[in-house]
Amino acid sequence: MQPLLEVKNLCVEFAMRSQVLRALRDVSFTIGKGERLGLVGESGAGKTLTGFSILNLISKPGYISGGSILFEGRDLAELTIEQIRDIRGNRISMIFQDPMMTLNPVLTIRTQMVETIKAHQKISDKEAEKIALDKLQRVYIPSPEKRLDQYPHELSGGMRQRIVIAISLLTNPGLIIADEPTTALDVTIQAEIMDLLLELCRDEDMGLLLITHDLAVVSEVTQKIAVMYAGRIVEMGPTRDVVDHPEHPYTRGLIAALPQSCDQGQRLLQIPGIMPSLANLPSGCSFHPRCELCQDICKREVPVLETKASGRHVACFMVK
């Protein structure tokens, strides 16, 4: 069966004044219908950029330089602006980090919801409002009729994020891209929002691309996980396996750095060094200067993502 979303060898470049920066290199993954994939990595690894390039939202000087993004049989990288606008917010919705910033402060919730529906469907305001109310109930917002007339600043952070999720549900999308949806919220609300997302994806059979740097959140919600480093996917596999038995040295470092994998009273482990800047990536494997298993071949050649003995995809020469 054809997957819902199939990203193949996606490359994104930024044409700067003096050089071309390769921000994404050969990123490939698939999301099946109703499947949930977590994309994790440090800041600047290219997680958000991947999400944005799926909707063709990269702004200049960035551009997609290669690869394909097949969604429901169509290559999104090839579509015109008009065609892609029909997919944005309709078949694929996106949820952003900070719900205060994503809702327009001067428009009521009603205006923003009705407008979203009417951008994609030819229906009356009355009908659109009905759908809006239905979705607000779907995300467990108390007294939804009242919320419609309120402005974003009158609502709490958790409530706002629920409304953002309700807006993303309005057109019954096949895929939701959630870019760190809980980073701006406090921990209890985080759990509620993640449970809600999980429930919605299961009930509506929606695909989810969860972009985050929080491994705990990913392991709770997703079925598959892809770890990114300096614009590449370095390890991909079923979430449980990857979290329990990481194979790539970078993933291992990430998991070891979690506070809960450390004994009480001991120093937290960390991966030495920082992620290289895109302007001067090291030769060979981008991770080699920080890697404890580094050999000569790592400095010369770039490892590709390949299936290892365990059945998992790992981009490392040292993993058999």
Binding site: A119, S143, K146
Partner: protein, 309 residues
């Protein structure tokens, strides 16, 4: 949980109204402005005689002093001008002309300026540079120079009789066109700040069109500075009109504005008829002053950094 409040109730309980009612200067200015607006725009109802109709006044009554002076006649409370028109009526009509031109010109400035500013700020790049350079060029000509140029050409081309008929729209056009860069720059600056915010990204993700994002999402967020400069620009436009009229390029004497009344009276000031110039002058100053004071209050209110506790 409190029930949803009606619009009127929200307004009545707002900080805006509270702050306004507790600022005596703003409240007084507002009351004076409303009185002037009602008197000016309702001139035909409040004026005892119609200064536009030559059959209602008599040259023999020319330069009568105000009623409170010796020789004053009760019929002319503020005296008469050089043509025997009742000053009070003429001033009301004149204020109406000044107000219409002031607000009309600002509407026009705001329209051109907002559209240009939005496009310039949102699209950026070469279009932005081109439009902003155009604004710079426009600003480097003084308003008066542009206005004098256009009205001089017009008077020469169509004759003075024709000019009298279209003086009001022409002045609106001239003053409006000369000052649009003020709006364009202000709006552009706000748009540059707003378009980086995530709600704009979110609107793009939803799949809305550029036009909708610009006018529906970004524009309302840039309006507070627009309101503030609007008040100042109304005052400026009224002053510009008065200045143009004073040098004889504004409203004709048959349809005087405050500025042309001051101008006409100026010729008689040394023959002792000071009231022809002084009264319209006072009205003009009060009108511009209260608008500016209201603008100041609005700016303070909308600027959280200047919060006065």
């Amino acid at each position: 949980m409190q029930p949803t409040r009606s619009r009127w109730r929200r307004f009545r309980e707002s900080f805006f109204l509270h702050d306004f009612l507790h600022d005596r200067l703003a409240l007084t200015s507002f009351i004076v402005l409303v009185i002037l607006l009602v008197l000016g725009l309702g001139a035909p109802f409040f004026a005892p005689s119609n200064p536009y109709d030559p059959s209602t006044y008599d040259l023999l009554n020319a330069e009568q002093p105000p009623a409170f002076m010796e020789n004053g006649q009760a019929q002319f409370p503020l005296g008469t001008d050089a043509q025997g028109r009742d000053m009070y009526s003429t001033m009301l009509y004149g204020m109406r002309v000044s107000l219409i031109i002031g607000f009309g010109a600002v509407l026009m400035q705001a329209f051109i300026g907002i559209v240009v500013g939005l496009i310039s700020g949102y699209f950026g790049g070469r279009l932005d540079s081109a439009l902003m350079r155009l604004a710079d060029v426009q600003l480097s000509f003084s308003t008066y120079m542009v206005a004098i140029f256009i009205s001089a050409i017009f008077q020469a081309a169509f004759g003075v009789a024709m000019y009298e008929k279209i003086a009001i729209p022409l002045l609106i056009l001239v003053i409006g066109f000369a000052e649009w860069p003020q709006y364009a720059r202000t709006v552009r600056a706000s748009v540059l700040a707003e378009k980086k915010k995530e709600y704009v990204e979110a609107a793009r993700v939803i799949g809305l069109s550029k036009r909708r994002i610009m006018f529906r999402h970004i524009l309302p967020n840039t309006l507070s500075p627009v309101f503030v400069i609007s008040t100042i620009q109304v005052a400026n436009a009224i002053m510009s009109e008065a200045a143009l009229s004073f040098v004889g390029l504004g409203m004709p004497v048959t349809m005087p504005s405050l500025g042309s009344l001051i101008n006409v009276g100026f010729e008689y000031i040394f023959s002792g008829s000071w009231w022809i110039t002084l009264f319209p002058g006072i009205v003009l100053v009060v009108l511009v002053l209260v608008i500016n004071l209201l603008g100041d209050w609005l700016r303070d209110y909308l600027n959280p950094k200047l919060y006065k506790g």
